[in-house]
Symmetry: C2
Subunit: 418 residues, 2 copies
C-alpha cells in the first residue's frame, strides 16, 4: 500500500468546469485533494464560493510553494501555455483541458516535461470523458496499433445527426446546436474542423509517437456537407461523420487526417449520435475496440480532469511510450483516397487530378462523383473546400497498394472508360 500525495490545488478558471470541479472535490474527501486558490479574470463576477478563495493575480497560485498542483481550465490558449509552463518550471504538477494550447505547443510541452520530470496530464483535452489518452498510453502501448478512427467533436456530430435523423438543413441544425449549447457562439472552430484537428494532433502523439503541428495534417470540417449528401449516404446505407483517422500503411508510416466520411450503419462509429464521441482502435489480435462517451460539456470535462487529479495521487505521468520507448512513426503522404465529391458545377472539379472516376451523377441539380485521387491532390490545395464543393471519404477510403491502383487503371483503360 502506497502513501498518497496530499494534493493542494491552484485552479485557473471558474466557469462551469471549474465550479463543478470545486464542488465535487468538496464532496469527495477521499480524494485528498483540496483547492487552495482560484485565479479568475473577472473578480467582479458573483461566484458560488467564498470570496477569499479567489484572486486575479496568477502569481498567488504559481508562486505559492504550498500549492503542488495547478489545474487549468481556461479558454485562452496563449495564457494557458504561459500558466502551464510557469507551473512546471516552478515544480508543480499540472492538469489541463486546453486542446488548442497543447496541440499548438506539443514540442515545447514535451521538452518541459523532460526537463522537469513532472506530471502534465490532459485527458480532458481529447474526447473529454472517454479515457482515450490513458488507454493509448498504457494499454495499447505496443507497436501493434493498426489504426485509430474517432469522432472527437461533439458539436459537428450533433449537427450531422440532426441533418440525418430529422432532415434539418445544415443551418437549421447549427442553430439548434447553438440553442442547446452544443456549439460555440462562433462555431467556426467546431464546424470547420479546427477543434477536431487539435484533438487529433494530440492523439496522434499518444497513438503513434508522431509530433506534428496541426497545420501539417490534412483536414476539413462539415461546413460544406449538404442535405443532398446525407440523402446519397442514406441510400447507400451510410451515415456521414466527421472523423479523425490514422492508419499504419504498408510502408510502415502513418496516414492521418480529419475528414467527413461515409460510415456504414453497422459500424460502431455509426452508433455515435448527437453530442457523443467515439473511438475505434484496431490493433493486432484485438480486432476492433470501441470506446464511447460524452465528448463535450462541463460535466464530462470535469470528470476527465477529476480522473487526472486522482492519478496525481499516485504520481502518474504519461511516459510517451510510442515516442521515447519505441521507434516513433512518421506521417506519410504516400497513399490514395477514394472519395465522394458533390458540387454545383463541373467547372469546379479538376478532373485531371483524379486517377479515375468510378461513378458520376451529373443530372441532378446537385451533382456528385466517386473517384480515386492521390492525397497530394488534397493536401495544400483547396479546390475541394471551395465553391460549396463537399468531399466525403468512402468507407475504407485509404488505398496504399500501388499494384491495385495500376491494375485498376489499366482495366479501366482497356474498357475505354478513361
Amino acid at each position: 500500500m502506497e502513501t498518497h500525495k496530499q494534493l493542494t490545488i491552484g485552479l485557473f478558471g471558474f466557469g462551469v468546469v471549474g465550479e463543478g470541479l470545486y464542488k465535487v472535490l468538496q464532496q469527495t474527501p477521499s480524494l485528498k485533494a483540496s483547492i487552495k486558490k482560484v485565479c479568475i479574470k473577472n473578480p467582479a463576477k458573483k461566484r458560488h464560493a467564498p470570496a477569499e478563495l479567489f484572486t486575479s493575480d496568477k502569481n498567488e497560485l504559481l508562486q505559492d510553494p504550498s500549492i503542488n498542483v495547478i489545474v487549468e481550465v481556461i479558454d485562452d490558449a496563449v495564457a494557458a501555455f504561459d500558466i502551464v509552463s510557469t507551473a512546471l518550471n516552478n515544480g508543480k504538477s499540472v492538469v489541463s483541458a486546453s486542446k488548442k494550447m497543447i496541440a499548438d505547443n506539443l514540442p515545447a510541452l514535451l521538452a518541459l516535461q523532460k526537463k522537469t520530470d513532472l506530471p502534465f496530464l490532459y485527458e480532458a483535452a481529447a474526447c473529454a470523458s472517454i479515457p482515450v489518452i490513458r488507454n493509448l498510453e498504457e494499454y495499447y502501448d505496443n507497436d501493434l496499433l493498426h489504426s485509430i478512427k474517432a469522432i472527437v467533436n461533439g458539436s459537428t456530430n450533433f449537427i450531422l445527426t440532426k441533418m440525418f435523423e430529422e432532415k434539418l438543413d445544415f443551418s437549421e441544425a447549427l442553430l439548434l446546436a447553438q440553442q442547446l449549447g452544443f456549439a460555440e457562439s462562433n462555431p467556426k472552430l467546431d464546424i470547420e474542423g479546427y477543434d477536431a484537428l487539435n484533438k487529433w494532433t494530440i492523439l496522434l502523439n499518444h497513438a503513434y509517437g508522431i509530433v506534428s503541428a496541426p497545420s501539417e495534417i490534412l483536414f476539413t470540417g462539415i461546413q460544406n456537407v449538404q442535405g443532398s449528401d446525407a440523402a446519397v449516404a442514406k441510400e447507400k446505407g451510410y451515415d456521414i461523420k466527421l472523423i479523425g483517422q490514422a492508419k499504419k500503411l504498408k510502408n510502415g508510416k502513418v496516414a492521418a487526417f480529419v475528414l467527413p466520411q461515409f460510415v456504414p450503419v453497422s459500424e460502431p462509429l455509426s452508433f455515435v449520435k448527437n453530442e457523443y464521441n467515439g473511438v475505434v482502435i484496431e490493433s493486432g489480435f484485438a480486432d476492433k475496440q470501441f470506446f464511447y462517451g460524452k465528448g463535450a460539456g462541463s460535466f464530462p470535462t470535469a470528470s476527465a480532469v477529476l480522473s487526472d487529479i486522482a492519478a496525481l495521487r499516485y504520481q502518474y505521468k504519461y511516459e510517451y511510450k510510442k515516442l521515447y520507448h519505441h521507434q516513433p512513426h512518421e506521417l506519410s503522404n504516400d497513399y490514395y483516397l477514394k472519395v465522394y465529391v458533390s458540387f454545383d458545377d463541373w467547372k469546379f472539379i479538376p478532373r485531371e487530378k483524379f486517377e479515375w472516376i468510378e461513378e458520376w451523377h451529373a443530372q441532378a441539380e446537385r451533382k456528385y462523383l466517386i473517384g480515386v485521387l492521390h492525397c497530394n491532390q488534397l493536401i495544400g490545395h483547396d479546390w475541394w473546400k471551395q465553391n460549396a464543393t463537399s468531399l466525403v471519404l468512402t468507407p475504407d477510403a485509404i488505398i496504399d497498394d500501388l499494384d491495385i491502383i495500376h491494375l485498376k487503371k489499366r482495366s479501366l483503360e482497356l474498357a475505354g472508360v478513361i
Copy 2:
C-alpha cells in the same frame, strides 16, 4: 526514460491462445519478451514450434531462476491455481487468463500478491480484449462509480442475437453457436451463467473493492429464455441480454447480480451483438462510458495477455485501489426488483412473493407477468429457474427507495388492485 525489464517467459498451455502468443512475440522484438519454455499436458501432440521448447514438467518452468514471468493460459482451474501460486511464491510475475480460477480463489490470490508484492495481471479473464480491469483500476479509481453494467459472455450473447434477429429457437441458436465455435461443447458453463458469474466476481473487486465468492451472487443464465420472451421484448422496443450489473444503492452498499435483462434498443448495450462484449460505466460527472470489443476467442484473449505482458516491462501491478485505498464496498440485499416472468402455468408462480403485479397476460399458451419483488425472494430460491420459468429484469429494475414501494402498494390497495 525508464529502462525496461527484459522478460523471459515460461508459458503454460499451447492451445490457440498460447500458440498465437508465441507467434506474435517472435514477430515483435520491441516487446523485449521471449518464451523460454512451454509446459504442455500432452507431449505427443504435434506443435508448430521447435520440439526443444516444450516440456511436460512444470518445474522446468517454475524452478528456472532465469524465467521471470509465468504466463498461464490453460483450462484447468485447479492446476492453474497451483501454477500461479507456486510462480508467485518463487518470485515470478504472472499473467493469467483463467477467470474461474481467479473467481474461485480471490482471497488467496489477494493474500499472495500482498505477501510477494509481485505483479499478477489477468485482463484476459474479463471481456478479453476490452481493457475493463485496467480502466476500473486506473481511470475509475475514485469512489464516484455509480454503476457498471456489462455483457461479459460472448456465447450467450451470440445465441440471444440469433433468437432476436433470425427468430431461431434457443436450441437452434445454441447449435449454430457450437458449430461456429462460440460455445463450449459442454455449453452449461456459458448458458447457465457460470462463466459470466466468474467474470462478474472479478470485476466487482476492481469496481468496488468487493471480495465475494461467486456463490454469494444472485445469478442465472439464458437457459429458460424463450422465443415468446423475445417477441414480447421486441414489442416493447427491447432486446434481451444476459447482463452483469452492480449499482451503488442509497444505503452506500452495492447491489450486484448476473441476470437476463430487457435493454432498450437506444442503450449502448443493445448495440452489442453476436459474440461481442460491452461494458457501460456510469460515474459521477462522466455520464455513461461504453467500452466494446470482442470478449471471447483466441485472438482477443491473446491480445489481452499481450497487453499484460507489455505492462510487466514497466513493473505494472494492480493496486486494488478500491479495496486497499478506499473504504471497500459491501454487497447488499436491501432492494427490490421489477421483473418480467414468463411461465407455462400459474401454479409455478408463488404470487405471494410479489409486492405487486402490474401486468399479467394469462391468455396465451405462454403466460407472463410483470411485477415487483424483494431480491431475497430470488436469492437462495429457485422457483424462478425451474419448470421452464423465465425471469428477465425490466430496464431500471432496481428499486431501493422504500417510500416508492410503500406509496405504490398503498395506491394499488386503494384502487383495489391488490
